[in-house]
Amino acid sequence: MKKRRVFGGGEFLIADIDPEDIFTPEERTQEHQMIYQAALDFVKKEIQPDLDRMEEKDASHIRTLFEMAGELGLNSTDIPEAYGGEGMDKVSTSLVTEAIATATGASFAVAHGAHTGIGTLPIVYFGTEDQKQRYLEKLASGKWIAAYCLTEPNAGSDALNAQTTAVLSEDGTHYLLNGEKIFITNGAWADLFIVYAKVDGEKFTGFIVERTFPGVAHGAEEKKLGIKGSSTTPVVFKDCRVPVENVLFEVGQGHKIAFNVLNIGRYKLGASVVGGCKMALAEAAKYAAMREQFGKKIASFGMIKKKLADMCIRTYMAESMVYRMAAALEDLLNTKTPEERNDAALNARTIEEYAIECSIAKVFGSETLDFCVDELLQIHGGNGYTAEYPAERMYRDARINRIFEGTNEINRLVIAGTLFRRAMKGRLALPDAIQGVREQLKKGPSKTDSGVQASPLALQKRYLASSKQIFLLAAGIAADRLGMQLEKEQEVIELLADMVIMIYAVESGLLRARKILAKKGGAAGDYHAAAVKVYVNDTVAEIVSKAKQVVAFAEEKERLPRLLGAIDHLAGFQPIDTIPLRRFLADKVIKQKRYPF
C-alpha cells in the first residue's frame, strides 16, 4: 500500500489530497478492531446496566471502574510502555475513546476522557523522566485519577488571565500556590492535578500537584444540566506547597502545555462524540421501528426517515474526519525518533501542527452530536421529553461538548486565527493559492473539467475543489479589505471558520467514500456514496452562501455584483435530488437499527 503523505496543518485547503493519503475507519486493523471491541465489552457489561449508580457519583464505584479499565489497558493507550502504558497509536486511542462514549452515557466518558487526556498527557508530552517515572504508572493503572485545572472564575476562555499565583520559597525547594480553579472535571476524585499558575504573578506555568500536598481542597459539586455522574467541583489551593521538581516543562512555558494538550483533548473529544452520535442513531432507529402511529411504524414516515438519514450522514462525516485526523497526528509523530518524542519543546511544535484540524474535529463533532440528540428526542415525541427514555439524558449530556475544551466560538477563532497567522508567517501558502484563484477568475471560464463525469463521485470531487476556491476567494477579500481589522470582525471570522470546517468534513467523507468505491466497488460503496452526495449537495450551497456574506461585508458595494457572480460561477452548483438517497440510507439504518458503516 502506498504510504500516506504527511501534510502540514491547514494544508488541506490548498492541496490536492488523494484517498490514499488519508486513513479511513475501514482500514482498522484486526488489532484495532479487537481493542474497540474490548473497550465496548467492558463498558457494556460494567457500566451500561447500571447507569443510575453512575449518575449518583458513587466514588467507590468510579474508582473500581477506573482500576478495571486500568487492568485492561484502557487508561493508557497514550502512555509509553516504558512507563506502564500500552504505547498504542492514536487510532487505538480514538477507538477506545469512542467505544467508551458509545455505551456508557456521557458521564463516565467525560471522567475517563479528562483522566486519560488532559489529565495524563501533559506528563506524557511535557514531563521530565523523573515525573514520568513517578506518575504515569499510577495513572495508567487507574489507581490514581487525574484532573486538569485551567479554568478560573475570571479566566475561562481567556485562560491566560489566570489569577492563581506561584511563589518560589526562599530556600528554592518549592512553590507556594494560591488560587481557585473552577469546573474541574474529576475534582472530587482526583489524586493528581495539572495546575496552571503564574510564577511571580506573570510567568504562566504548569505544575503537577498531588492531592496530598498541603493546601489542596475541593469544593461542592456543581449542580449540572447533564453528565451528572461526573464530578465537577472547584479546587482551591491555599499556600499549597509544590516541590520545584513538580514544575511541568519550564517556568513561563505553561501556555505551550495548556494549548497543545487542549489540541489533543479536542480531537479526542471528536472521537468521543462520534460514539455518542452512534448511540443516538441506534436509539432513534430502535424507537422509530417500534413506535406505531396511524397504524404504521413511524420509521415508515418520510420526515422520520429524513431525520435518521441526516443523523447517519453527519455522523459519517464526523467519524471520517476524526480517524483521518488521528492517523495524521500519528503519522506526524512517527516522523520523530524515540529520543525526539521525549523532547517537550519538539512535542509542543508537533502537536501544534494540527491545531486547526483538532478544533475542527471538536466543533463539527460536538455540533453533530447536538444535532443527533435533538433529532433523537424529536423522534420520541412526548416520550423523549420524559426521563423514561434515554433520549432525555442524552440530550442534556450532549450540551457540554460545545462548551468545554474551548467553546466552539473560541475554537472557530482558533481555526481562522491560526490559518491567517500561518499564512502571514509564510508557513502556509495561502496567499499564493488566493492569487491562483484570482488569476483563474481573470482568465475567465476554463471549465475543462466540466462534463468529466466518468468516475463515481466526480461531481462531488469538483464541488470540493470549487469550495476550496470559493473559500480562498472570500478569505483573500476579507484579508485585503479588512486587514488587521479582520480579527475584530468576529462574524466574518465565524463565517470563514465555518467554511473551513465544512470543507474538511466534505473532504474527509469524500476521500473515504472514494477509497471504498475504488477498493470494493458498487454495493458496499453505494451507502458511502449516498452519504457523501447528500452532504456535499447540502454543504456546497451553504459554503456559497457564507462566502457571499463575507464578500458582502468586506467588499466595496460597486464590486459586489461581479464578485457574487464569480462565486456562483466557481461553484457551478446544481442541486441534486437527495430524497431517494436519504431514504436509501434511512432504510439501511432502520433495518440494522444502528449506525450502518
Partner: protein
Amino acid sequence: MEILVCVKRVPDTSENEITVNKDGTDIEREDLVYSVNEWDNYAVEEAIRLRDKVGGSVTVVSLGPEDAEEVVRREMAMGADKGIHLMDAAFEASDGYGIATALKAEILKGSYDLVLTGAQADDGAGQVGGMLAAMLQWPFAALVNKVEVADDGTLKVGREIAGGNQEFSEIRLPCVLSIQTGINEPRYVGIRGIRKVASVEIPVHGAADLGLSLEAVGAAAARVKRLDYFLPELGEGAEILEGTEEEIIDKLIELLKSKGGIK
C-alpha cells in the same frame, strides 16, 4: 493438563435482530454483527482457570470460514495459549456430524486430556459436544456448571438438573464436557493480551491436513436436512405483547389480572 476448547463465531444476538431470509433457507446474514458464541467463552474461561490451577496449556480451535480466525484470536487474547483454525471449502455446509468429524481428527493429532465445548451455539443444534465424545469414545458430561480436578486422573463435574438441583459426578480423563453459562465470570480481553497475540500466526488446517476425505465432511456427509426456516405462527391462546418495556409490563399486569393470575 492439555485442554482443547472448541469455539464458534456466531451472529451476536444482543446486537442483531435475527430474521429469516427471503427464500426461507437460512437467517438473513447480511449486515450481521458476529462475536464468539457465549457458551464457548465460558468454556475458555474455565479452561484458563484449570490451566492456571494445575498447569498445562489451553488451545482453542474453531471451524469456519476466514472470519472464524477472529474468535480464535480473541480467545487467545483472553488467555488461551494456542489457536487452530479449521478451514477448507470441503467443510462448508457441514452439519453437527461433519463438524464433530473434523474436530475429532484435529483432537487425535494432539494429545489432549480434556476437550470443552459450549453447551450449544446460538446458531446451532447443540449436537457437537456429544457427537464428538461418541466419536472419540470418551466419557461425556453435558451442561456442566462446575469442574474440579481430583488427584487420580478424574474430574468432579457438577451439572444443573431439574428443579435447580445440582448433580455431581466423577468423570475419567480424557473426556469431553459441554459447558453451561454461569459456570464462571469470563474475564475481559485487555489491550496487553490483544497486543500479545496480534501478530501470532494461527495455523490453518484443511481436510487433507486432518486426513479426511472430502466425503467425510461438508454437504456430502450432512445427515441433517434443513427443510424450512420460518417464524412460528401465532398459535391459539398465544399473544405477543408490543410496545415499550413499560407498556408491555402494564399490559401483562392487566392480562394476568383479567385471567385471575394475580389479584
